[in-house]
Every structure is written in structure tokens, then in C-alpha cells.
Amino acid sequence: MSPKDIATYAKNQWCPGCANFGILNAMKSLLKEMSGVGYPLENIVVVSGIGQHAKIADYLNVNSFYSIHGRTLPAATAIKLANPELRVICFSGDGDSLAEGLDHLIFAAKRNIDLTVVLHDNRVYGLTTGQYTPTSPLGFKGKSTPNGSEEYPMNPLEIMLASGASYIARAYPGRMEHFKRLLKDAIIHKGFSFVDVLQVCVTYNNLYDFYNKRIYEVKDNDPRSFDEALKIIRSWDYNSDAPVAIGKFYEKDLPRFDEMFPGYKPHKVEREAGLKRALENFI
């Protein structure tokens, strides 16, 4: 493997037919494409949590921070603040960022930190072999809820809209061209971008058929309209039978957290002088 290969030597552990391959392949293609136009590979930092989704950090031959469960966003936020020239992409899952790490997801949206969250929303815990998640429907029979879950799912897009996210989209790797365009758009967006990817887990929650019959691409919507976005977002509640919209639902240009910090870094001499002054002030 040479540094210029986009794939590492790591042996892939995903099940054949897993939609994670769609996400991985889209990313490989996008990273190559964007590397020549302002997104050099060395500036890319992938942050992943824990889950089947997270293995993407091992498979992509780019800078990566393979974090702990639910904790992609705080690490990713700091990486971006450390050097705003870095392009930070978080790969997370519905368990990772809607259960364990929901707090951080909401705050990242609230801060409008310039990074992209690609949520592998397969609505099941794949890595731990089949439990329900915050986006699983009512009555989901999983290993921790054998008699059917007694909770309604949350709508992650609605939560993101309420949290002030400046870019909200839902995508489906089954429509690859649309998927790639959306991912690229989300990455290019200056600010916090959230993409809920309806990623199918073939082994524990095979929804290919369900999605293929209901997915439709939203066109001609005004993504600057909060009300329109809310309407589209609420048109499917992750529980009932309804058409499932994909596309960019909301986009706004807002002040970013990473713009708020001084780029100034004093030299040693200035620092020494500052310390001397500080000490003098305590006499």
C-alpha cells in the first residue's frame, strides 16, 4: 500500500451486501475527486465512533481518529478548532450518536462547527448483534427487546432542525449518484452538516425492500425555509408506513464556532513577557 492508495490493507469485515460498502465506495470516489479541488487528502480527517460504521476509519487510507462509542463529535470539534484548514468528516451510527452521544450531536449542531456527520442509520445495533436503537420502530424485536420495543423512535432530522443545524439531509446509498452528490454538497457546506444515511443492515434489519418501495428524491423545495424543511422532515416518523424523502432539506449560512477562536499564537518571547506581566499583577 502506498500513501497515495485510498484504501488501506485492512481486511474488510462487513457482511456481503452491507450498505456500508456503498458509503465506503462513495467516499473513496469523492475523496479522489475532491483532492484536486481544495480538499487535499492530507487535510482530510475522518473521525468514527464504535460500531460497524466506525470500521471505515480502518478502511480509508486517510488521517483518522477512531474514537469511543458516542464520542466522535467532541474529538472532531477540537480537531477542526486546532486547525481550521482540516476537513473533518464524522462517521457515526444511530446507536453511536443518537443514544450514547446525543448530547454531543445536539451541541455540535448548536455550535455550528464546520464538519460533516455521516450517520450510518441502520436502525439496529449491528456490531453487538441486533438490539434496537433510537430510530427502530415501535415493537422492534431485538435481543434486548424480545417481546418488541415499547418505545417510539425519534426523528433525528427533527432533532437536528430544533438544535440549529445549518445543513440537514437524508440519503440512500441505493441511489448512488444522488447519494454521492448529496455527500459532496454536505462536505462542501461551510458549517455543521448532518446527513442521515438510510444504511441497510442485511443481517439484522434488512429494510432494502421497504426503502426501495418508498424512497423518493425531493426536488424543488426551498432549503432555506425552516417551515418547509420541518414539513418534509415530519412526513415520515421512522415508525409508520409513509413515503421516505431523501435530499437536502435545509441549508443556512450561519456564524461558525471555528471562526470564533483567535488564530493568534504568541512566540516564546511574547509568552515570557506575558507571564512576567501576569506575575507582576499578583504582587
Binding site: P40, K55, N83, D103, K265, I283
Partner: protein, 553 residues
């Protein structure tokens, strides 16, 4: 002997802490060494707050039970602290709020309400008025107080000066505080010293969630952010705090976090991540009385083993426990240097006493502190984030690095940073970490990780804030005081050296189980006696001397 103690008391909201600072600064201007104990309950208004400011011609780190002057802003102060009055003590009080009866000491009532009204002062200036009275009573020239107020009062200076002058004029000299021929040093809290030491060693980011007694460090860093180009962040939780620090470390930013026990509990998973992914981080842990919420504004030394063992799995860590502001400044810088040199978590294990106590700071007392550059990658060939070396330390690189890939991993990983479950690589990784710990240990041999004071067949063993009280009482009882500064890697050899001619070992700690004594046992050092205090308060000099009297009887 030039040793003078002043107690100032009132309710929360009276500016008692500020008052203590002002008194401390006054004595500092006269060349005295300062120590202040600040006692306050967990509330914002009301209750009873007091400070004991001790000024001495020698360096001190503990307060005495009995005081030479009491500045009483309310009745509680007199009632609660009457027992502290020396026979020749002075009581200056707000005559509108305090009724004194049958005291044999010299008393000075001040009509503070009237003075405030006439000088346009506001209630929080009551303490300035009473300090004016103190100055005249102690024969301290007005110009000294004027200078201190002019330098340190942020607003309404004129009103404060007038109020102070009125208090000054209303008093008469009772005793002359001699001016000493010693320099006036910076007077600050342990938290301030920690902040300055970290900045000296190259800190660029500070992340924290408010929690007593660490909050004032967050406040201090935030106030210095612009001047020193620091990124200071107060995020949603301590979990976010730790993970942000690790993100910063990954990108090459020297970062510290601060918290207390409860907050640190939330950081432990992130700590383990730091250990596995080899991400440098400095953690200021200010102990307070636990368990759980406990006594939020009081002190303890009950988290030593928690800090030594927190985080699942095994990985090396640096733990230092400063005993005063001098230690806090120097060793905070060393902690930052160690964290980056060995890519380990480094703890500054302080407590409320050190964090919020006031000390005179001598920046050079522990030697020169400099920012050290960590081992960086030389740019040749392919970069492996976790390359095996003969020290266990892999050279560092940070994104963006053209044509290179920098991978941090929370899983067991190979040299490139790709996840593995291979048994040989797993073992090699553990050995690499162990080797880092050994390398760090060897490095620390050149530092004074154990400090010995005085001589004697009996040794008082202490860590953290008990440094001052042990040094001073050991002198009186002709004992040796041994301060264990670094708790991890444990300086076993140095400590055994210090204990060579010692026949009796007494551990002095602010916990109920003798945590230092227990740690010593792990290294084959048996303690003969334990003197333990665990009521949320630090030892006063009298407390320890009384216990030593019993133990040596």
C-alpha cells in the same frame, strides 16, 4: 518572631475572599510570606465565610488556630471564632452588626453603615473600611494600603479609598508591624500558579466544565485567552471536555483539562482512550470531600488511588501532587512536558486547599521551567503513528502531512494505526506502553520527586497540601518531613533513600483510609502510624502538633 494572623469573617456576598487577598497583599508589601485559608460553604449568599491570613517572615503553608486580629463584619464571626482570640488580639468590628460583650481583648468598633453612606460606598466596601482600621491599628502606613487598593480594585476606586481612609482614621495604633527586608512576591492561589505553569510549558488550549475547586482555573484561563492565544472552551459535559482535549492532542495542540472527583468520573473512559491511543493530556484534578457531592467547597485527599487506577486497562501515567503554589507552578509545567514527551495522561492531583488557598509564589524555587519539544517525526519514509522504538515512544506528527496518514485508534492497533486482534501485536503494544513508563521513570530520576526537609529518626510522610503543616511541625518535634511529590511513576528508590536512617514513619493525610500509606505498602514500605483528618478541613498547625504530641507521648 514575625508571625501574624488575621481572621476576616462575614456572610457570602461580603467579599471575604477579596478582603483576605487585600490583607495578604498588605503584608506582602511589607516583605512577609503569605498563606491564606479560605473557608466557605456551598452557597452564594448568606451562611458564614471566613479567611485566616497568616503572614510570616519564613515561608509558610498552613494556618494556625489562634489569631492576632479578627475583622468581624457580622455577629457570627465573633460568636464562632471567639475561641481563636489570643489574649492580646485585636477585634475590629462593624458596630451596626456586632455586639461585643465581656471580651478582654482590644476592640475597635467602626460605624461602617454611616461611613458608607457618607462616602458613597456600597455594602461590599464594608471590608475595605474595616481593613483601613486594621492598617492603622497595626502601624501600617496609609500609603501601603492606598497602593494596594489602587493596583487591585477594579471599580469604584475613589469610593473604596475614601471608605478605607475613614476606617483608618477611626483607629489608633496598637502594635507596629515591622517591615521586613524581603522581596514582595506574587501572591496567588494554587489554581493561578497551575495556570501560569501550564502556559510556561506551552499550553495552547484549556477545556473544562465548572466544578469547585477547579472552576477558578477555568476562569483564569479564560481571562488570559486573548493575550496568550489560548482556545478556552467550556463544553456540555466532562465527557466532552476530555474528548475535546484528545482531539486537540491528535492535532498537536497542548491541552489541559480541569475538574474535581465527580467530573473526573465522567472522564475515565476518555482517559483510557488516551492510554490506548497514546494521546497526551494534562488533567488538573482538584480533590474535594466526597463521596459523591459530599462537601463541594471543602477539602480532602481521598482520590489518590482513584487517580492512580482510573480507566480500564493498563497504561502508564504521570501523577504529581503539588504542596503549594511553588510546586503547582513548576510541576504543572513538568506534567505538560511529561505528557508530550511520553504521550501519556499527566495528572496534577491538587485539592481545595492548594487550589483556592493563597500563597506567596517564588517562580524559581524549584528550578527553571521550560517548554520541551516532544520527539517529532524526522520526515523520512512512511509515517507510522505507533512505530516501535527503543524508548517505547513513537515520534509525533500532526495533520496535515503531505502524502502521509496519521491514525489514532482506540482499539488495539498495529504500528500504522490499523485495528488488530492479533495476539502478538496485542502483546507488543502492551510492552511498548510499559517501556514508555520505564523511560519516563528514568527521566524522572533527574527530578526532585521526593523532597526531604529537616532531620530526625521519625519521619512525617505527606503528599499534596500537607507539605506546609508537616514541614513546620516536624521542626518543632525534631522530625524529618518527607514530601512525596510524584506518585506515578512511584519514586520508590528515592523514597527508600530518604527513609534510610528513619526508625518511625508517620503518614499525615486528609482521608480516612491512609491512601499514601497504602501506596507505600505496594512498594514494601510499612508505615508505623497514620494521622488522618477527614472532616473536610485541612490540618491547622495546632491540629497536627496536638496529634504528634499524642503519638510521641
Amino acid at each position: 518572631m514575625n508571625d501574624f494572623s488575621v481572621l476576616v469573617g462575614g456572610i457570602a456576598g461580603d467579599g471575604i475572599n477579596e478582603a483576605g487577598l487585600t490583607v495578604g497583599r498588605l503584608f506582602n508589601q511589607l516583605g512577609y510570606s503569605i498563606y491564606m485559608y479560605y473557608d466557605y460553604p456551598s452557597l452564594v449568599r448568606g451562611g458564614h465565610n471566613f479567611v485566616i491570613v497568616r503572614a510570616s517572615d519564613r515561608k509558610i503553608g498552613v494556618q494556625k488556630d489562634h489569631v492576632d486580629a479578627v475583622l468581624a463584619l457580622n455577629q457570627d464571626t465573633v460568636n464562632i471564632h471567639k475561641f481563636r482570640l489570643k489574649d492580646d488580639a485585636l477585634v475590629i468590628y462593624d458596630q451596626g452588626k456586632v455586639k461585643l460583650e465581656g471580651l478582654k481583648q482590644i476592640t475597635l468598633p467602626l460605624p461602617i453603615e454611616k461611613i458608607l453612606k457618607e462616602e458613597g460606598g456600597i455594602p461590599v466596601m464594608r471590608n475595605t473600611c474595616i481593613i483601613g482600621g486594621l492598617c492603622k491599628s497595626l502601624g501600617i502606613d496609609w500609603s501601603v494600603l492606598e497602593q494596594v487598593l489602587k493596583k487591585h480594585i477594579p471599580k469604584k476606586l475613589e469610593e473604596n479609598l475614601r471608605t478605607a481612609r475613614r476606617g483608618y482614621d477611626a483607629a489608633q495604633k496598637h502594635v507596629e508591624i515591622k517591615r521586613l527586608d524581603q522581596p514582595s512576591l506574587p501572591v496567588l492561589t494554587g489554581n493561578h500558579a497551575i495556570g501560569l505553569g501550564l502556559i510556561k510549558a506551552g499550553l495552547n488550549a484549556y477545556v473544562a466544565y465548572p466544578m469547585t475547586p477547579s472552576s477558578s482555573l477555568l476562569e483564569f484561563m479564560a481571562s488570559l485567552a486573548e493575550e496568550f492565544g489560548l482556545k478556552v472552551i467550556h463544553p456540555e459535559s466532562e465527557i466532552a471536555v476530555m474528548l475535546m482535549a484528545l482531539g486537540f492532542a491528535y492535532a498537536g495542540v497542548k491541552t489541559a483539562v480541569g475538574t474535581s472527583g465527580g467530573g473526573f468520573c465522567l472522564m475515565t473512559e476518555g482517559l483510557s482512550l488516551a492510554g490506548q491511543a497514546e494521546l497526551p493530556v494534562v488533567i488538573m484534578m482538584g480533590q474535594r470531600t466526597g463521596p459523591s457531592t459530599g462537601l463541594p467547597t471543602y477539602t480532602a485527599q481521598s482520590d489518590l488511588h482513584f487517580i492512580l487506577n482510573a480507566g480500564q486497562g493498563e497504561f502508564p501515567r504521570f501523577v504529581v501532587s503539588p504542596g503549594d503554589a511553588n510546586d503547582a507552578y513548576y510541576w504543572s509545567g513538568v506534567a505538560m512536558n511529561m505528557a508530550w514527551k511520553y504521550q501519556v495522561p499527566a495528572f496534577i492531583l491538587a485539592d481545595k486547599t492548594v487550589c483556592e488557598g493563597l500563597y506567596s509564589l517564588d517562580v524559581d524555587s524549584n528550578g527553571e521551567l521550560n517548554e520541551e519539544t516532544p520527539p517529532l517525526w524526522n520526515g523520512n519514509g512512511k509515517y507510522d503513528r505507533y512505530k516501535y522504538t527503543d524508548t517505547g515512544v513513537s515520534p509525533l506528527a500532526f495533520p496535515p502531512m503531505k502524502d502521509q496518514v496519521i491514525k489514532a485508534d482506540s482499539y488495539a492497533h498495529d504500528e500504522y494505526g490499523i485495528t488488530t486482534e492479533d495476539p502478538k501485536i496485542t502483546k507488543d503494544l502492551v510492552d511498548k506502553r510499559k517501556l514508555k513508563g520505564i523511560s519516563m521513570s528514568k527521566d524522572l530520576d533527574t527530578y526532585e520527586t521526593v523532597k526531604v526537609y529537616g532531620e530526625g529518626k521519625t519521619a512525617l510522610l505527606c503528599w499534596g497540601s500537607n507539605k506546609g503543616v508537616c514541614i513546620e511541625s516536624a521542626e518543632k518535634f525534631e522530625m524529618k518531613a518527607i514530601q512525596v511529590l510524584v506518585l506515578s511513576p512511584f519514586p520508590s528508590k528515592k523514597l527508600k533513600e530518604a527513609l534510610k536512617s528513619v526508625e518511625r514513619k508517620i503518614c499525615v493525610e486528609c482521608n480516612s483510609t491512609g491512601q499514601l500509606a497504602r501506596l507505600l505498602m505496594q512498594y514494601g514500605i510499612h508505615t508505623d502510624d497514620k494521622i488522618l483528618k477527614y472532616d473536610g478541613r485541612p490540618f491547622s498547625l495546632d491540629d497536627l502538633e496536638a496529634e504528634l504530641g499524642k503519638v510521641t507521648a
